[in-house]
């Protein structure tokens, strides 16, 4: 049994907002499983459990902001009964910060529920009917200041300052066609905001528009049985725990991808006008959501790297990507990309190819589903949807299918990765 506290997820973090509980009271939790999403001063991050057991109590509600070290949940033994008969609907032990937009609600409460906001911000919040509990502050120490309230949309239940909204892995591309002019935007009203593009957003817009309009995409999907891979992961993590090694689901998928690409060099290629370039090395780009966008740092020569090395490389690259400390050469030169939205609860999706690459893998979440086993029985299984977006100029349907088939084999029979 253990009390789970708000972890320090970045160097400068002093408090975190619990964006979403991924587990509810009564759910089984395994070490390494994501139990919640936490928004720090830098980004929204997943919070993994370090305990095995059952989530017996949730102390803070979604949208609530607490300081580091404050308890947020309790994980009990598997046999332990949750303290309430109806755990899912149990009233929270502390008051949730979802006050109605009244003068009372804008006043700072004491203790953990205190909303840090400037006097001016509080006044304007009352006038505009903005719920300060749902506004993310951009002032010193996350304090809500005037501009945050002015940027917040009073009618929206999840008004938040734009820079801290969770960024999608794959940037949405505006629907634009060459012939028809885009429909004019709705007339701006007082509450609307105009956010100038940062350099990163400009790059995302330009590259993905070019990709989606110039590359003939086609999409393949398969659903694989993730059970064997999940078991191997659990075994590895328990066997290597004393070495301080812990693999994420994504680490294993990256390793499996490298193993599959090694067997299908034609997907590790670029279209180059009058030729196709097949790359000798596998430089694996991995999409990482950062504040205000995404970057795709590259694990260089991934074929020669062990699972441990891949895991360490992506951990380091992702951390530095989030703190904007990547060197340009660290996010250039990828030969294919893996984008994983499983952590965001996405079942399956189709990512846009990152040019000049020819494929991008879209990884969904591992979900429990009935599956038919080898004895034709319907049993509970763990499924994973793999999407592959291909540049048809380089990768034909049959080649993409063969690659995905190999990738399925690697995930369903992880021992094959050793070969």
């Amino acid at each position: 049994m253990a009390e789970i506290t708000m972890p320090k997820l970045s160097d400068t973090m002093t408090e975190g907002t619990l964006v979403k509980w991924k587990k509810k009271v009564g759910d089984r939790v395994e070490s390494g499983e994501v139990i919640a999403e936490v928004e720090t001063d830098k980004a929204t991050m997943e919070m993994e459990s370090f305990e095995d057991g059952v989530l017996t109590e949730i102390y803070i509600q979604e949208g609530q902001k607490v300081e580091i070290g404050q308890r947020i949940a309790r994980i009990g033994d598997a046999g332990e009964t949750p303290p309430s008969a109806a755990p899912a609907t149990k009233a929270p032990t502390s008051a949730p910060v979802t006050p109605a937009p009244t003068a009372e609600s804008s006043r700072p409460a004491s203790g953990a529920n205190r909303v840090k906001a400037s006097p001016l911000a509080k006044k304007i919040a009352v006038q505009r009917g903005v719920d300060l509990g749902k506004v993310t502050g951009s002032g010193p120490g996350g304090r809500i200041v005037q501009r945050d309230v002015l940027n917040a949309n009073p009618s929206s239940p999840t008004a938040a300052s734009p820079r801290t909204a969770p960024a999608p892995m794959t940037a949405p591309v505006p629907a634009a066609s060459g012939d028809t002019p885009p429909s004019s935007p709705p007339t701006a009203t007082h509450g609307d905001k105009r956010i100038l593009l940062t350099g990163m957003r400009r790059t995302i817009a330009a590259r993905l528009l070019a990709s989606k309009t110039q590359i003939p995409h086609f999409y393949l999907h398969i659903e694989v049985n993730a059970g064997p891979m999940m078991r191997v992961r659990a075994e590895l993590n328990s066997a290597l725990e004393s070495d301080g090694i812990k693999f994420s689901v994504n680490d294993l998928i990256l390793k499996a991808t490298v193993a599959a690409v090694s067997r299908h060099p034609k997907v590790n290629a670029s279209f180059d006008g009058d030729a196709v370039i097949e790359y000798e090395k596998i430089n694996l780009a991995v999409a990482v959501a950062v504040e205000d966008g995404l970057v795709t740092p590259v694990i260089r020569d991934a074929r020669s790297k062990s699972l441990t090395e891949i895991s360490a490389a992506i951990k380091d690259l992702a951390a530095r990507a989030r703190s904007k400390k990547l060197k340009p050469e660290e996010f250039q030169g990828g030969t294919l990309t893996v984008s994983n939205l499983g952590g965001y609860g996405i079942d399956h999706f189709d990512a846009i190819i990152n040019p000049p690459q020819s494929i991008i893998l879209s990884i969904g979440r591992v979900m429990k589903k009935p599956i038919v086993n080898e004895r034709d029985e319907v049993v509970a299984g763990e499924c994973l949807n793999l999407g592959l977006s291909c540049d048809h100029r380089v990768v034909d349907g049959a080649i993409g299918a063969a690659f995905l088939g190999t990738l399925r084999r690697m995930i369903e029979c992880p021992a094959a990765m050793l070969a």
Partner: protein, 455 residues
């Protein structure tokens, strides 16, 4: 030597940026041509405050001795010692910064730094020896110098800039000061207090043109009363050396002569040599992270343009360095106090009333004169007022303008109020100690809503 950060310039931007980077565990070098502390500490803020203190005391004793009950038979002053005290203060503080460099293990590189390329700097020491240094990142903080008149360059004796004016070997009998910004206005007070005949000439319609109009008007009245010849809205047509000093011809046909001409018409950038930096109106153009157009070269302080203030420069350098090494998103200057240390002192933060009007903002004015303040009367400093510009309908502090004794100390409260987005209610709710000059801030706040007690 290879550094994580090499700072070019040891002034309020340079030395502060260097120390902050060292605190973050970086290997830092700081190149300085003259002495650590830059213009502020050696030739600006600090030595002039020393001179002005002498001027205040002397003015009090010569003009108000009877009021305070003092009698003198032969009150006199020693010009050399007045200048000497100011130099001693600067020396002491410059030495203090050199100590801070040592304490923070910063290499203090005395000499001229010239970029060979975007990654290396040659430092030419005073003895002519050169050293080559490389760094991952550079912070350019080279500052500014006095802007000169095109046809009458500074000679250090008859035509002087602020740097020379503060070390004049003997007191001039008369001085013409061109420009009534903070520098011109402070020197006007200083020289006038010791009996030099001062003519203060300003092209714009009022002295301290960046301050609130009411403040300028009160100061101008006070200056005229104390004998300074203030000529606002006055253009100079020509200036030339004469046998007794200088002669300045004005647009209205007048001509003014004096022993010394102090040029205080602004500053010129000191650009670093060897780099093709993109400029904006002559100053280094920087982006939101204080980055220049050249990768890994950043700039902060006076060299990136106005406002040319030491406290702004230091703040910018800290922002830039934390952006480089601490993963912070730097902020650019928004609200900053401005201070002029004449008597009565002038200090302000935020918008002037005119600026608020031009922005189309709705506001209320709260004003309280020091003549109604008990403390001000007790210490014999009843000139001036506090003026607050308070936004409507929310009551945020848009601007604060203070003229009077200790104005430069009183302004901090209002800077904090603006930064914290406090409204008039928080100021109202804050107990201000009695008797203090700061009660005037509380009362000015109340005056806007008819709740001031003492007026």
């Amino acid at each position: 030597m290879h550094y994580d950060l090499l700072v070019i310039g040891g002034g309020p931007a340079g030395y502060v940026g260097a120390i902050r980077a060292a605190q973050l565990g970086k290997k830092v070098g700081c190149v300085e041509m003259d002495r650590a502390g830059g213009t502020c500490l050696n030739w600006g803020c600090i030595p002039t405050k020393s001179l002005l203190r002498n001027a205040e005391l002397y003015h009090l004793l010569t003009h108000r001795a009877a009021e305070f009950g003092f009698k003198f038979n032969d009150l006199s002053f020693d010009w050399e010692k007045i200048i000497g005290r100011s130099r001693t203060v600067s020396q002491k503080l410059a030495g203090g910064i050199e100590f801070l460099f040592k304490k923070n293990k910063i290499d203090y590189l005395v000499g001229e730094g010239v970029f060979n390329d975007e990654k290396t700097v040659t430092v030419t020491k005073r003895d002519g020896k050169t050293e080559l240094h490389t760094a991952d990142k550079f912070l350019v903080a080279t500052g500014t110098v006095t802007r000169q008149l095109p046809d009458l360059p500074i000679d250090g004796e008859i035509v002087v800039g602020s740097k020379q004016a503060m070390v004049l070997k003997k007191q001039p009998k008369s001085i013409i000061i061109l420009g009534a910004g903070a520098i011109g206005v402070e020197f006007a007070y200083f020289f006038n207090a010791f009996g030099t005949k001062v003519t203060l000439i300003e092209m714009l319609p009022r002295i301290l043109p960046v301050e609130d109009e009411e403040v300028s008007a009160v100061l101008e009245r006070s200056y005229k009363k104390s004998g300074i010849d203030v000529r606002t809205g006055t253009k100079v047509v020509s200036q030339k050396l004469s046998t007794t000093g200088v002669e300045v011809k004005l647009e209205n046909g007048d001509s003014v002569a004096a022993e010394v001409l102090l040029v205080a018409i602004g500053v010129s950038p000191v650009l670093p040599k060897g780099l093709k930096l993109e400029l904006e109106r002559g100053y280094i153009k920087t982006g939101p992270r204080y980055e220049t157009n050249i990768p890994n070269v950043y700039a902060a302080g006076d060299i990136i343009g106005p406002p040319w203030l030491a406290h702004v420069a230091s703040w910018e350098a800290i922002q830039a360095v934390e952006g480089m090494f601490a993963g912070h998103t730097p902020k650019k200057i928004e609200v900053f106090p401005g201070c002029t240390y004449c008597q009565p002192q002038v200090a302000s933060v935020g918008l002037t009333e005119r600026a608020a009007k031009e922005k189309g903002l709705k506001y209320k004015i709260g004003k309280f004169p020091f003549s109604a303040s008990g403390k001000a009367l007790a210490v014999g400093e009843s000139d001036g007022f506090v003026k607050l510009i308070i936004g409507e309908p929310n009551g945020e502090i848009l601007g604060a303008h203070i003229i009077g004794a200790e104005a430069t100390e009183l302004i901090a409260e209002l800077g904090l109020a603006i930064t914290l987005e406090a409204t008039h209610e928080e100021i109202e709710a804050t107990i201000h100690a009695h008797p203090t000059m700061s009660e005037a801030v509380h009362e000015a706040n109340g005056a806007a809503f008819g709740t001031a007690i003492h007026i």
